[in-house]
């Protein structure tokens, strides 16, 4: 049986067609512009949940009761649009009998017959599809917002073609405006040079040995912002256990990582400070105890000795203990002062001015030894520091260099500063007798540690210097070769 004969339906098939149409969950409406006559098919009522003729078939019913008020302008404009315009199906909301507004799609077509212009359309319920679409759009927004908030970009690497698919957020982290296609090498090139081999290696291992990775690396974006990122990747394998895809994320963890690093460094500082404090407590107890013990010892011997000569000798020792005791207390005082002075105001300190002052204060020493002192502060002439500390540091280093100069050659002492990134370094170098680093390296900055037979050696200068430098968050390192010289590298800030 054929439905059509050309484009004309036979009377029988027309009936049949109407039956079919009524059964396919679609409604047909027709509106005669000239006569204002309106017709709804059975299906029209059915899709809305009504029995035929349960509601009045009228313009008023449609516009005032069925059509959602916000969709009215769109529908009207479709009705009034030029006939030549092939209008797309409209998506409108219509009030159903029992389940509220549903989404429908309606075509809007027109033709003319003898009674005038007729506009008609087919209405289908698309509520489920529309709901799913809205939900999907919502989910998309939800996920992309979540990824944006998490600063998380995702990517996928095809092991076969080595082609990369990158998410929008991935480009956001890279701070690339255009979503240009990037090769793996290009993606890796955004990592900081020392970290490039790390990430490259991790991806190679994922491809070849199916090893997942999770790294925290330094990264430089297209806008030159250096941030910490977390790069995580997992291999996807085929049935033969071969990696076919590497899927991964890149996440901006800069804030957290920097806080972590700051925390770590303050923990190190605290541990260091704690160790120094404990050390200090031992030093105090040891030094005071040894003097006190000696004093007690001498007084006892003094009581027991009868010979006047012996008594006089013991007394001279008691005097020397008394001197040492005050010297020790003076030293301890100096060390305690470092901690109290730390709150002193920092000001701009001029290296050259301070160093020149110290040189002139030690002039007689320098002249006697015929020492040559050169300095170059041009690369970093000034520093924000506690002036008293800077004077003390430079004075101790210079005194030290002069004290341990080699008798075999005239002392040559060099001092210079540089600025590197956020740090200021001070280098202090001499050609003195040097020190056996292997034997004494770790003890050099200890209190009352002396390594030479020099009677002037008190083992306090470098201890104080180190304490001052570390109190302001710096570090001091020493490198020395016996009979060649000593070089101090100090990171001041």
């Amino acid at each position: 049986m054929s439905f059509s004969d050309g484009h004309k339906f036979s009377e029988d098939s027309k009936q049949h067609l109407a039956q079919i149409i009524d059964n396919i969950n679609a409604g047909i409406w027709e509106y005669n512009v000239t006569t204002k006559n309106i017709k709804w098919s059975v299906g029209f009522y059915t899709v809305l949940g009504y029995e035929p003729d349960e509601i009045e078939c009228s313009n008023h019913t449609f516009f005032e009761h069925l059509l959602y008020h916000q969709d009215k302008p769109a529908f009207l404009s479709a009705l009034n649009s030029q006939p030549s315009n092939s209008t797309k199906p409209l998506q409108i909301r219509l009030l159903t009998k029992t389940s509220g507004y549903h989404w429908f799609e309606s075509t809007v077509k027109r033709y003319n017959d003898e009674t005038g212009q007729i506009i008609y359309g087919v209405v289908i319920n698309i509520n489920q599809y529309k709901q799913a679409q809205i939900q999907a759009a919502h989910n998309d927004l939800f996920y992309s917002e979540a990824l944006k908030i998490a600063k998380l970009g995702s990517w996928e690497l095809n092991a076969l073609t080595m082609g990369l698919s990158l998410s929008k957020q991935f480009y956001d982290i890279y701070e690339l405006q255009n979503h240009v296609k990037l090769s793996l090498d290009e993606v890796i090139s955004f990592f900081e040079p020392p970290h490039r081999p790390v990430i490259k290696n991790a991806i190679d291992n994922a491809l070849e040995y199916c090893q997942p990775y999770d790294l925290e690396l330094l990264f430089r974006s297209a806008k030159n912002n250096v941030i910490w990122v977390r790069a995580k990747g997992i291999p996807i394998i085929n049935d033969f256990g071969k990696c076919i895809t590497v899927r991964g994320i890149i996440q901006d963890i800069d804030n957290k990582k920097r806080k972590n690093l700051a925390l770590e460094s303050s923990l190190n500082l605290l541990t260091d400070q704690n160790r120094r404090l404990q050390n200090f407590a031992y030093i105090v107890s040891h030094n005071l105890r040894s003097h006190a013990g000696n004093l007690q010892f001498m007084v006892k011997l003094h009581d027991e000795t009868e010979l006047p000569d012996d008594k006089a000798e013991i007394l001279s020792h008691i005097k020397s203990i008394s001197d040492s005791l005050s010297a020790t207390i003076e030293h301890l005082n100096e060390i305690v002062q470092i901690q109290t002075e730390i709150t002193n105001e920092r000001t701009v300190v001029d290296f050259e001015a301070v160093f020149k002052n110290i040189i002139s204060a030690l002039k007689s020493n320098i002249d006697t030894l015929e020492a040559t002192i050169t300095y170059d502060f041009s690369k970093c002439p000034q520093i924000h520091y506690i002036p008293a500390y800077m004077e003390s540091i430079l004075q101790n280093l210079l005194t030290n260099a002069l004290k341990y100069s080699s008798p075999e050659r005239k002392p040559v002492i060099k001092c210079h500063t540089i600025k590197e990134r956020n740090h200021i370094y001070l280098f202090f170098e001499d050609n003195g007798i040097g020190i056996d680093m292997e034997r004494y390296g770790d003890k050099m900055f200890g209190m009352y540690k002396t390594f030479h037979q020099n009677p002037d050696a008190k083992g306090i200068g470098l201890f104080i210097t180190r304490n001052q430098i570390e109190a302001l968050g710096g570090t001091i390192k020493v490198d020395s070769t016996v009979n060649i010289g000593t070089k101090f590298t100090i990171r001041l800030v």
């Binding site: 031992y282 107890s285 040891h286 030094n287 105890r289 040894s290 013990g293 000696n294 007690q296 010892f297 001498m298 011997l301 027991e304 000795t305 012996d310 000798e313 013991i314 020792h317 020397s320 203990i321 034997r439 009352y448 540690k449 002396t450 390594f451 030479h452 037979q453 050696a457 083992g459």
Partner: protein, 141 residues
């Protein structure tokens, strides 16, 4: 009896010698101001007959401290041909120092400075009886 004191503290060295003298402990005392000098002297074959019976060793000294001395001593003791008892002496009440000293087998004990005469007497008596035993053994062999 031969006594050796290794300590850089001049006052303590003086007092130590004086105390032994005053108590009439009848000992020869030799002293060095750091470990290095002591090792040099001990290993000199010319001093073979004058080796001490007991060494009192300070910990904190320049050049070669007490710990370094003990390391060196462990290597040379077999060549010395005489048993030498070593006491470590220090004003340090650092527990780490005490434990560290107790772990060294060649160290007989750790003594806080200043040493008192009772401790000194006890140490001397102990060593004297040990020397006596050795002579007795030597005599019977």
């Amino acid at each position: 009896m031969g006594v050796c004191l290794i300590d850089d503290d001049q006052v303590y060295t003086f007092g130590f010698k004086k105390l032994i003298n005053l108590r009439g402990l009848n000992s020869r005392v030799i002293n060095f101001s750091d470990g290095n000098q002591a090792i040099t002297w001990l290993t000199n074959p010319l001093n073979g007959h004058d080796l001490p019976d007991v060494i009192f060793l300070d910990i904190n000294m320049p050049n070669m401290d007490g710990w370094d001395f003990m390391r060196e001593f462990a290597e040379i003791k077999s060549q010395l041909g005489k048993k030498i008892t070593i006491y470590m002496l220090s004003s340090s009440i650092n527990l780490n120092d005490i434990y560290r000293a107790k772990k060294i087998t060649d160290v007989a004990d750790y003594i806080f400075k200043p040493i008192n005469e009772y401790q000194l007497n006890a140490i001397f008596n102990g060593i004297k009886s040990e020397i006596g035993n050795q002579t007795f053994k030597n005599g019977t062999i």
